[in-house]
């Protein structure tokens, strides 16, 4: 039992303190911004993290993926509703009705109807963003040139697959919304 205890204590020190400390030190040295949450600032005010979706309720902004945990960054969560769930069906119909009531086409892109796994998904596919362009432009009362500028902004916001190899084209909704006010 004494030997077991000595082993337990030594491993706690090596794997539980020294190893995380080494990782911490190295990452603070090499990637300080990423290690502390990829925070976004406006002046010295922190306005969020580029990796964590925020709640956009105003129709003047592009909306993120729906969140089953109400975009609570300190307690993310999913709906965990299965394919034959009637409550999921109801929620999806409500979301569809919302987009249609704002003048969007039906079918609505599936990503805007279904909540993400983390409840904090910061991205949308280009299709789901392009779908929202006329709606946001209408809400902001954009002229034709401004609508054109918005379309350009969205096109420029599309991130390709990582290093051309991994994943899909996608748009970071938070970063896109940050740039919106530059148009008007």
């Amino acid at each position: 039992m004494i030997r077991a205890f000595v082993h337990f204590a030594t491993w706690s020190l090596v794997c539980g303190i020294l190893y995380p400390a080494f990782v911490f030190g190295t990452s603070k040295l090499l990637f300080p911004r990423e290690a502390s949450g990829s925070l976004l600032r406006e002046g010295d005010k922190i306005i969020g993290s580029e990796l964590i979706a925020q709640k956009f309720e105003s129709p003047k902004y592009f909306h993120s993926r729906p969140s089953a945990s109400n975009y609570d960054a300190s307690a993310g969560g999913a709906s965990n509703q299965g394919p034959t769930s009637s409550s999921l069906q109801k929620v999806v119909e409500e979301r569809r009705a919302y987009w249609v009531s704002r003048g969007g086409n039906d079918p609505v892109p599936s990503e805007l109807l279904h909540s993400s796994a983390s409840g904090l998904d910061p991205h949308l596919s280009p299709d789901a963003v392009i779908y929202q362009i006329p709606l946001v432009a209408k809400e902001r009362g954009y002229s034709k040139e401004e609508l054109h500028a918005l379309e350009n902004l969205v096109t420029n916001s599309i991130e390709g697959p990582q290093w051309g190899l991994f994943g899909f084209p996608k748009v970071n909704v938070m970063k896109l919304n940050l740039k919106l006010d530059s148009i008007r």
Binding site: R3, A4, H7, T10, S12, V14, C15, P20, F22, V23, F24, S27, F31, E34, A35, S36, G37, S38, L39, K45, I46, I47, G48, S49, L51, I52, Q54, K55, F56, E57, Y61, S74, A75, G77, A78, S79, N80, Q81, G82, T84, S85, L88, Q89, V92, S110, H114, S116, A117, S118, G119, L120, D121, H123, L124, S125, Q162, L165, F166, G167, K170
Partner: protein, 558 residues
């Protein structure tokens, strides 16, 4: 599947098939004490480690190995339970998290000590940084190390020559080597890569911010990267955050998802090759690896085709991973007893969810957990050899060693005990309010939720149909029992089998010896795995995922 997915899948399998054999041979070497020169400094640390922990180099008999393992495990259970219950008195708790109640602390301790990493709590809500790092993080290492140690002990029994007296080896020596030479270096490397991708590694309190629309936002931080690397490498799967690897801070990009998904299968895929090297037959390792790969490919194919013909597929999935990559992860994590998720299995289409639970129900032998997965597969190999021997009417033998009633009993116990506990506990949960009231979904999907929970615990997997509210005293205790049983029903027979085969006379290969390296053998092995899995669980699989699949096109909702 589109072009982007194809590239992702190709890179994934190419990397897995290239690295596995190489890593397997490396593991086989270091576990027997042959080190590459660059590890000179670590090997002097190893010797220093033996000196301070008073670990002798002498091999021990099976009793000694067994008691070392058991006493170490008990001690871990004791300290982790206590630590979690009293976490408010420990330093490193900037968010002032209060202690977990006894039942949850016990469940969590069992979960991490048995390499299951079932999570009835939510990390960023309930745990302090110290609890994550010092209690759970350490168990991520040692539970994987114990798995490798048990495998090595069994293999020593299988590969031993009668005139050698190497014994089963020394538990503490095996544990030390597996952590120092395999788990720590790879974890460190991957942790740094993950930070570069955006995984957080910070001890500051949570960050308060005012969002773009003026709402207040609280952003969680913590020492996540160091823990996530070992969580994937050691087939642990316990997430730093509640939603596991779907959280943008735990898995921020497509590449981080790729490398984490690769780590899930890396050690379980490499160990068959290590096995081949240990027993001196490269083909024996390759045939086991191919058997696993075939089972994996079948599950992946069914999951992909089901999910892509499913209208609500985006529910519970992240945009940056998409549908195919979520299914690849789901297959890998359930096949390998890892249990981390990057999409919510509860919202998968019926057959994709069914395949996930199927992978677990086969006994976690499709790659399986680090070490114990291959041990489970070797039980099946022994059974196959035995049954093949009966069919041709010869005394069955494996590597020239006779397989007799004692060996078969150990193997059968290891194969059947977890399955039995799944069936009994699922039955209990299905007829009592204690079990039924926790469901998030009704109808056949609710049945699958309960079945999945017990399968996941007994298979030491740890993933979940997470709608089920498992943080109740009933589930906390019932599942912790299943986890302990699932772990020790593999470990104890493995040591018994190793001891039984140790020193057995080896007869040279003859004309009628049944080859354990041929395609015919792989086919037999797969049939027996299918037979055991199917016969034990077919009724439940038909009533759960099967029924839901049939009801889906009719539009029936619950």
């Amino acid at each position: 599947m589109n072009g982007n997915d194809s590239i992702f899948f190709f890179l994934y399998f190419a990397a897995l098939f290239l690295i596995s054999p190489w890593l397997g041979i490396y593991i086989a070497r270091v576990m027997e004490g042959e080190y590459p020169r660059v590890f000179g400094p670590i090997s002097s640390f190893e010797n220093f480690f033996y000196r301070i922990t008073k670990t002798g180099e002498e091999p021990s008999d099976v009793r000694r190995y067994f008691w070392d393992l058991i006493s170490f495990t008990l001690l871990c259970l004791f300290f982790v339970t206590l630590g979690l219950h009293f976490q408010e008195y420990l330093p490193g708790n900037p968010e002032s998290k209060s202690g977990l109640p006894w039942d949850l602390a016990w469940n969590t301790a069992v979960s991490f000590v048995t390499n299951t990493n079932w999570q009835a709590y939510s990390g960023e809500v309930s745990l302090s940084y110290t609890s994550q790092m010092l209690l759970l993080g350490v168990q991520n290492f040692v539970s994987a190390g114990v798995g490798i140690s048990v495998l090595v002990a069994l293999v020593r029994g299988i590969a031993s020559k009668p005139n050698e007296s190497k014994g089963l080896g020394n538990f503490y020596q095996d544990l030390t080597r597996s952590i120092l030479y395999i788990l720590l270096p790879i974890s460190f490397l991957v942790a740094i890569i993950l930070v570069a991708q955006g995984v957080v590694m910070d001890f500051s309190p949570y960050v308060s911010a005012t969002g773009l629309e003026g709402s207040s936002v609280k952003i969680p931080l913590g020492p996540a990267a160091s823990q996530i690397a070992i969580k994937q490498l050691g087939t642990n799967g316990g997430g730093f955050f509640g939603v596991n690897s779907s959280h943008p801070f735990e898995n921020p990009s497509s590449f981080s998802s790729w490398i984490q998904c690769l780590l899930i299968l890396l050690l379980p895929g490499a160990l068959p090759f290590a096995y081949g090297k240990w027993v001196g037959s490269w083909k024996a390792g390759l045939s086991i690896f191919l058997g696993m790969a075939i089972l994996f490919a079948i599950s992946l194919g069914v999951g992909l085709s089901s999910e892509h013909s499913f209208e609500g597929a985006w529910e519970g999935k992240e945009t940056r991973f998409g549908i195919s990559q979520s299914i690849l992860w789901g297959t890998a994590t359930t096949a390998a007893s890892n249990g981390s998720v990057n999409a919510m299995h509860d919202s998968f289409s019926p057959l994709a969810g069914g395949v996930a639970v199927w992978n677990i129900l086969l006994g976690e032998v499709v790659f399986g957990g680090v070490g114990v997965g291959l041990v489970g597969m070797l039980f099946y190999v022994i059974l196959t050899v035995f049954i093949a021997g009966l069919m041709v009417g010869r005394t069955p033998e494996y590597f020239g060693k006779k397989i007799e009633s004692k060996e078969v009993k150990f193997a059968l116990f290891g194969v059947l005990a977890p399955g039995l506990s799944i069936l009994v506990f699922t039955a209990i949960a299905l007829v009592s309010d204690l079990g039924l009231s926790s469901r998030a979904n009704q109808g056949p999907h609710g049945l699958t939720e309960i079945l999945y929970a017990f399968a996941s615990a007994a298979g030491n997997n740890g993933s979940a149909f997470a709608g089920l509210n498992a943080n109740t005293p009933f589930y906390n205790f019932a599942l912790s029992f299943c986890m302990l049983l699932g772990r020790f029903a593999v470990i104890l027979p493995a040591l018994g089998l190793g001891a039984a085969l140790l020193g057995k006379k080896q007869t040279p290969k003859g004309e009628g010896t049944f080859s354990t390296e041929s395609p015919l053998f792989v086919l037999l092995l797969l049939s027996i795995i299918f037979l055991v899995g199917a016969l034990t669980f077919l009724p439940l699989l038909v009533l759960g995922p099967g029924t839901e699949h049939i009801l889906l096109p009719t539009g029936t909702k619950f």
